[in-house]
């Protein structure tokens, strides 16, 4: 099925998936704007998968832009740096958009800030030489990534250095860069590819160097022809290949992307490493380039603020730790028919109601949906139509898993591979009975984990 793209192993797509309305038009053409530094940032001490970070400075310390204020507490953990110059305040608690209560360090702005064009140049602008990358050895690169506190910016927030530490048993032969951005509405990665192709390419080359990979691939969905063109031009002569993939949700999910671009299947419960692949998002590799070439930590990221419920949809270069509310205000505020605020995209993002929730390293966007977007039909019983089976990108039987979850039957749920579900929401999107499948599966996973602990 499907045709093979010349030169790489995948078929350009994965099996199943759905086609939600793309709605990239809200913010697709909006050039990235630099958000002015806020009066205060709130830096959550848990912004990555893994262990939380721990304070590295005392309250009342005066810090400069980019100074480390919290350090990683374990190997799977990342340090945190302040995006503004200011004074460290006493650590308190904050609620993230995903509902978790975590410790957070407030920093009050004070002193000289990096703003506007200067900030842009610092993050994405200027030259990104790639001719003398040989001066950096693998360890140097990984150390720079770790020191800069880089985590996956696609939303998963897995500490990046962990993926690239040399591993003799499982060598990486393919570095796969994720430029799919398959979530509807979001355009942050798209804008980074258009406006900052050079750091993306340089960062990719750096990761290629660390791993000694034979192949470097950037996967982009075919609904972004301009990004494909810009990156193809920027990648000329580097050995990096641009893989044009079918537009389909969830094409940007790690395992689906690997199948689409390389034809390899990550084993159930395994990691991309098991098939010799490392995957990073385009924003992440740009941050890698910045960390290695310029010695700058991850303090800002590109965030899409979009949807019919926001007055002026934009793509923003925003400091981590700014509140959701400030970004929403910067985009003109909510429209009267705004009905739901989502951190991330509408398929996998978290609905939140607290405007004070801080932006974290993993915040890829804020999607404001209206009553019209949410119009949902009433829930009926499962009619066993099998549509959820037809769309599940992991090839599961969502209705059975959901049913087992509803009856708290851990054994049956496991028989149907509940843990392989990565909660993409395709099944719930398509279900004619409007069953809250993902929600049920989430509860089911908790039941399975609890049963395993007994």
């Amino acid at each position: 099925m499907g045709f093979k793209f010349k030169g790489f192993g995948g078929g350009g797509s994965f099996a199943h998936g759905v086609h939600p309305p793309e709605r990239k038009n809200f913010s697709g053409d909006a050039a990235i704007e630099v958000v002015p530094p806020p009066g205060k940032v709130m830096l959550p001490l848990l912004q990555n998968v893994g262990a939380p970070s721990v304070e590295a400075v005392k309250p009342k310390t005066v810090v400069a832009v980019g100074e480390m204020v919290a350090k990683g507490s374990a190997f799977v953990s990342a340090p945190i740096h302040t995006p503004i110059a200011g004074k460290v305040m006493k650590t308190g608690m904050t609620t993230l958009a995903n509902g978790r209560h975590v410790k957070a360090m407030p920093i009050k702005a004070d002193g000289e800030q990096l703003t506007g064009q200067a900030l842009w140049n610092d993050v994405f602008g200027g030259e990104w030489p790639r001719d003398d990358l040989d001066q950096y050895d693998g360890k140097q690169i990984v150390d720079a990534i770790q020191g800069a506190g880089i985590v996956g910016l696609g939303g998963a927030a897995f500490p990046t250095h962990v993926k690239y530490v040399p591993n003799d048993e499982k060598p990486i032969d393919t570095v796969l860069i994720n430029g799919c951005e398959c979530e509807p509405y979001l355009t942050a990665d798209y804008r980074v590819m258009l406006e900052a192709p050079d750091p993306v390419i340089t960062g990719t080359l750096l990761l290629g160097k660390v791993t000694g990979a034979r192949e470097m691939i950037i996967g982009i969905e075919d609904n972004k022809p301009e990004a494909i063109e810009v990156l193809t031009r920027a990648a000329a002569g580097t050995g990096i290949r641009i893989a044009v993939l079918k537009t389909k949700y969830p094409q940007g999910s790690e395992k689906q992307l690997i199948v689409a671009a390389t034809g390899r299947e990550v084993p159930l419960g395994g990691l991309p490493l098991d098939v010799g692949v490392a995957v990073s998002n385009v924003g992440t590799v740009a941050a890698v380039a910045r960390a290695v070439l310029r010695g700058k930590p991850l303090t800002h990221r590109v965030i899409t603020v979009t949807g019919a419920g926001i007055r002026n949809p934009k793509n923003l270069l925003a400091p981590i730790g700014i509140t959701m509310g400030e970004l929403i205000d910067y985009c003109g505020g909510l429209t009267p028919d705004a009905a739901r605020m989502v951190a991330g995209g509408p398929m996998m993002g978290f609905a939140f109601s607290d405007m004070n929730a801080p932006v974290t390293k993993g915040t890829s966007g804020i999607t404001i949906l209206t009553h019209d977007d949410l119009k949902r039909e009433e829930e009926t019983n499962c009619v066993r139509c099998g549509r959820c089976v037809d769309v599940c990108p992991m090839n599961l039987v969502p209705t059975k898993i959901a049913l087992a979850s509803r009856y708290k039957d851990a054994e049956l749920a496991q028989q149907y591979n509940i843990m392989a579900c990565f909660e993409c929401g395709s099944c719930a999107y398509i279900c004619p009975a409007n069953l809250p499948l993902v929600q049920l599966i989430r509860t089911g996973k908790a039941v399975v984990i609890a049963a395993g602990k007994k």
Partner: protein, 313 residues
């Protein structure tokens, strides 16, 4: 008002349970059209009786069980139409009423309403009246209509062949100008409506494909074993309720398997049983029993066909 709810925050509003049921009604339209054209008032009265009875039964039983009113999802209407189309036009009115109440009350409501039943409600209803009113629905049931309508003064094609060795011309089977249950006579109407359902993905194409594949294979073997047989594979395909059953009865999502592979197995099983019953049993037609039998194995098929997850063994 800002709402908080779990992801995903979008849903495909073009696909709802109600929309699926409306699709089935649209798909049934050509069949209903031919039925009314061939059987005139017999068809109109039977359809009205069954639909009204099914709706009344649904209202009654959901109220009794204290469930939400489910008339608006049109599933009872679909059961009514399919039930009517599976009966002879001449069946007396109380047969339709009783079949409808059995279909909704026994086959559906007792299990917990839409989505919970194991068996196809319309077929359960029909099976009940078939046994209870054998004479009104047996082979002779099709022949006592009097001379009001030409087509139904004869036996059904399958009975005529079984009992008298008379082969109905393929063209009559194709267009539907023969006797039979209301909805089964016209192959072309079933094909048009059925293809619509498959294209809309309201019916899973794997099921009719399985039915037809099994019929072709077994019918083909039959033809090879006794060459010169007058009742050929094509007669098997176009005659009787085979296509109606393949597209509209076997494809009932609730009582058929979940996975594409399971659906094909289900279809092939249905087709195979139809052929066995047609050739070896006393009944001229086997669609109803075939579907009910396969309904019974559906849970097993679901178990056998758990798909291999991505990256799994």
């Amino acid at each position: 008002m800002i709402h908080v709810a779990p992801s995903p925050h979008l849903s495909n509003t073009a696909q709802t349970t109600r929309r699926m049921m409306i699709d089935v009604l649209i798909g049934l339209a050509p069949v209903v059209g031919v039925a009314v054209y061939v059987f005139k008032m017999y068809a109109v009265i039977q359809l009205a009786t069954c639909v009204v009875s099914c709706l009344a039964a649904e209202a009654l039983f959901t109220r009794m069980r204290g469930n939400k009113m489910t008339l608006c999802d049109f599933s009872a209407a679909v059961t009514g139409v399919i039930l009517a189309l599976s009966l002879p036009g001449t069946a007396p009115w109380y047969v339709g009423v009783i079949a409808a109440f059995v279909a909704i009350g026994i086959a559906k409501a007792i299990f917990g309403g839409i989505g919970m039943n194991l068996f196809n409600p319309a077929m359960v209803g029909r099976a009940f009246v078939m046994i209870a009113f054998a004479s009104a629905l047996g082979a002779s049931g099709y022949m006592d209509a009097g001379s009001a309508v030409d087509a139904i003064t004869q036996a059904t094609p399958l009975t005529a062949f079984k009992q008298g060795g008379i082969t109905t011309p393929l063209s009559a089977l194709f267009w539907g100008t023969t006797n039979g249950s209301l909805g089964e006579t016209s192959a072309i109407a079933c094909l048009i409506g059925g293809l619509y359902l498959c294209l809309r993905r309201t019916a899973s194409w794997e099921i009719p494909t399985g039915v037809i594949a099994a019929t072709v294979v077994l019918g083909g073997i039959g033809n090879l074993v006794c060459p010169g047989a007058q009742w050929t594979v094509l007669h098997h395909l176009l005659g009787g309720a085979l296509l109606f059953g393949a597209f509209f009865i076997a494809t009932d999502p609730v009582s058929s398997p979940l996975t594409p592979k399971g659906k094909f197995i289900f279809g092939a099983g249905t087709g195979a049983i139809i052929m066995l019953l047609r050739v070896f049993s006393g009944y001229p037609e086997g669609v109803m029993f075939a579907v009910l039998l396969m309904n019974a194995v559906t849970p097993l098929i679901n178990r056998w066909t758990i798909p291999r997850p991505l990256g799994g063994k």
